[in-house]
Symmetry: C2
Subunit: 409 residues, 2 copies
């Protein structure tokens, strides 16, 4: 951690449209593909597998930069870091439904308190490498906070637009970390429009989810890190809170890259996309056997991070879910709130609502039989529970009265 | 991370009064010494040095349990863990005052978002080992949150008492994580009285700061981990936000244990106790050459975590500061607020007010000449900045009007 990051071989060969598979040059700025779809980064995995070993990785600091050869940044001087440590994989035996072990992967430990740090540290590092100095983004909160921190750290100007019902803590955090932030009296797509229309007059680079190719590569490290922590093995099932789905897409990409170089063998994890019943476009498309999801009208849920009515990477999410023999499922707000409460009261672990949705889904699918009690499962807690409003606690003692110690049982 | 913790040799020989040096048996429940002073845990360091090497430690997961031989827990089954990962040591070149490197050690990444997790995971593990099932604590917030989480995780009942001006987020977090919490219309010492007087009728164990011996051992891992991260070297100066001072005492104990077994050579870091001008009992005692500090009347500061008017370990703090050729210093609320703002605007790093006090002190002491611009320094950010109120950010855009893109420069 002391030194600047050492130089490393890199293996990016080109970028490829996730839909049409046409190629795009590496080391140039790109948004979406010609077909308007996300671009995926491609590597020379044969050369990569020759260049680095699991044993070599184990000697490096436990951060996401351990996986440097699997990542797109060419020059170490462009790495923009705020300490992306491995997040802990915490066994939660009291939440287990059977013999299969259950863990929470606590992504709230990353910079700015959420998994958004993984995507944004990579996207900002690549933007720096490619000469970007101004970036803009529409956000419901956590992604904007991560962009603010990494943008400032990189010496860039960042312009961030939030729907006006974004929680106060997120807006303040964005401003505190050196970004320029505006509340917009509209929805996330209105914010997206401002960003898109500003590209020419302002000259900023559009950092909207999946509209640049590198956030997926950052999120990919969730899969690399998980396999590494488990001794280059994987759990049977992964429950992932799914809004834009960058993380699910990224993890599935990681597992497949690891399989291709022979570091993972056998069955890959079943990927379960968890949504809220008030906003479940992926669940609907999954159940209807469709490749793309329709816009979800009147989206609402307590888990604001998965309130994403339309995702540009919908087909990539659905593809990962199907290829992995997983599924998409939805839980309602009551289940989410009860799951959050149960995890904290039983294990002392305070999840965020989106994380709690994964525990609610695990319970629901044990019940439904789609998950067996013998399957091991990892639940992704995507942000610290401290960013969310907790229920009041109003017991009081008056020191002017004798204390009734029989209360404390 | 996957397995339960492996068994390990342990080396505790006895406990010793920090003041009178009389001995107390290991593996029994203890509060303060007969002299009413904190007990320090003593190890057979010769045997420890034979049993474990730096190379062996490097193969273990990057958590505080890596240092198992330096810690008091005898049986692995008693370890109560929520994922105590190594906290990152983040270089902050834009905050540097000269050629000496400056790092922030970001303790906000620990469970419950503060360094209190280190002390409480150790104290709760030892309480479990010694058969305790009910614990109680007075707290201004973060320590109570950590006890709530670890107590629940251990299957204990915890009873927590806060002054009624404790921030709402802390009280709610304590309750959410399964503890019983009460607001008390008094100060922290009134809360402490309730805990002390409840010992007999309720039978709970008193977890007040330094009133049990193991929180220091948990905080000691800050020193072990820092030296490990720096390749078994140390910085020239450490700035530490000092309330009860458990961490400063613990780190100094760690450095001395490492020196005794030969893992650290040469000069140990100068320990700087940072307080607020509105509550600076250690600074006063340091400047007056005293061994103990007087109670500070009318304590006040924005950095509530260091608003501790009287510390039972005062003499241990002052001893560490003097032995290390460090000093105690105070900064005012304006300096703290300005330092917090500067760090986040320059480096994208949101400190907590207590952490920001260390940066304010670093700047002040560069100016005063007590720290040289060539000295390397570590600033301890003791909690996530997200637990504290941030300044409002009120820019808005009306989508019913044309957007003025000339705003975004």
């Amino acid at each position: 951690m002391l030194d600047s990051f050492p130089e490393s071989q890199t293996f990016v060969t080109h970028l490829e449209c996730g839909m049409e598979h046409d190629h795009y040059a590496a080391d140039q700025l790109h948004g979406l593909s010609k077909a308007g779809k996300p671009l995926l980064v491609k590597y020379d995995l044969n050369a990569l597998a020759q260049a680095v070993s699991k044993e070599e990785l184990a000697t490096r600091p436990a951060t996401l930069w351990r996986y440097r050869e699997f990542l797109p940044v060419r020059k170490s001087e462009n790495i923009v870091s705020l300490g992306e440590i491995h997040t802990p994989l915490i066994p939660v035996p009291r939440l287990q439904g059977g013999n299969g072990s259950v863990w929470i992967k606590d992504e709230g430990r990353l910079p700015t308190g959420s998994f958004k740090a993984r995507g944004l540290c990579m996207a900002v590092s690549m933007a720096k490498e490619l000469g970007v100095t101004k970036v803009a983004m529409p956000t419901n909160g956590n992604a904007g906070a991560a962009l603010a921190a990494y943008g400032t750290r990189a010496g860039m100007k960042s312009f961030i637009f939030c729907p006006d019902d974004t929680p106060e803590i997120n807006v303040r955090e964005i401003a505190a970390q050196g970004a320029h932030v505006w509340r917009v009296n509209g929805l996330i797509n209105d914010c997206g429009k401002i960003v898109a229309q500003g590209k020419e007059p302002v000259g900023w680079f559009d950092f909207s989810t999946l509209k640049e190719p590198y956030r997926i590569e950052g999120k990919k490290t969730m899969g690399l890190e998980l396999a590494d922590q488990m001794g280059w093995q994987v759990p049977d099932v992964i429950f992932y809170p799914t809004g834009g789905g960058t993380g699910l897409i990224g993890m599935w990409k990681a597992f497949n890259e690891l399989k291709e170089i022979g570091w993972l063998k056998g069955k890959l994890p079943r990927m379960v996309a968890v949504q809220a019943t008030g906003c479940a476009p992926m669940v609907k498309a999954y159940e209807e056997g469709k490749e793309h999801a329709e816009l979800w009208e009147d989206a609402h849920t307590v888990a604001a991070g998965i309130r994403v009515p339309v995702a540009v990477g919908d087909f990539l999410i659905l593809r990962a879910v199907r290829e992995s023999e997983g599924f998409a499922t939805a839980v309602n707000d009551e289940q989410i709130t009860a799951a959050l409460d149960e995890a904290s009261q039983k294990e002392g672990f305070l999840m965020c609502p989106e994380g709690a949705a994964t525990y609610a889904a695990y319970k629901q699918e044990l019940e439904s039989g789609r998950v067996s009690p013998d399957e091991s499962a990892v639940l992704f807690n995507c942000a610290t529970g401290l960013k969310y409003e907790l229920p009041p606690a109003d017991q009081a003692i008056d020191i002017n009265q004798p204390v009734d110690y029989s209360l404390f049982v």
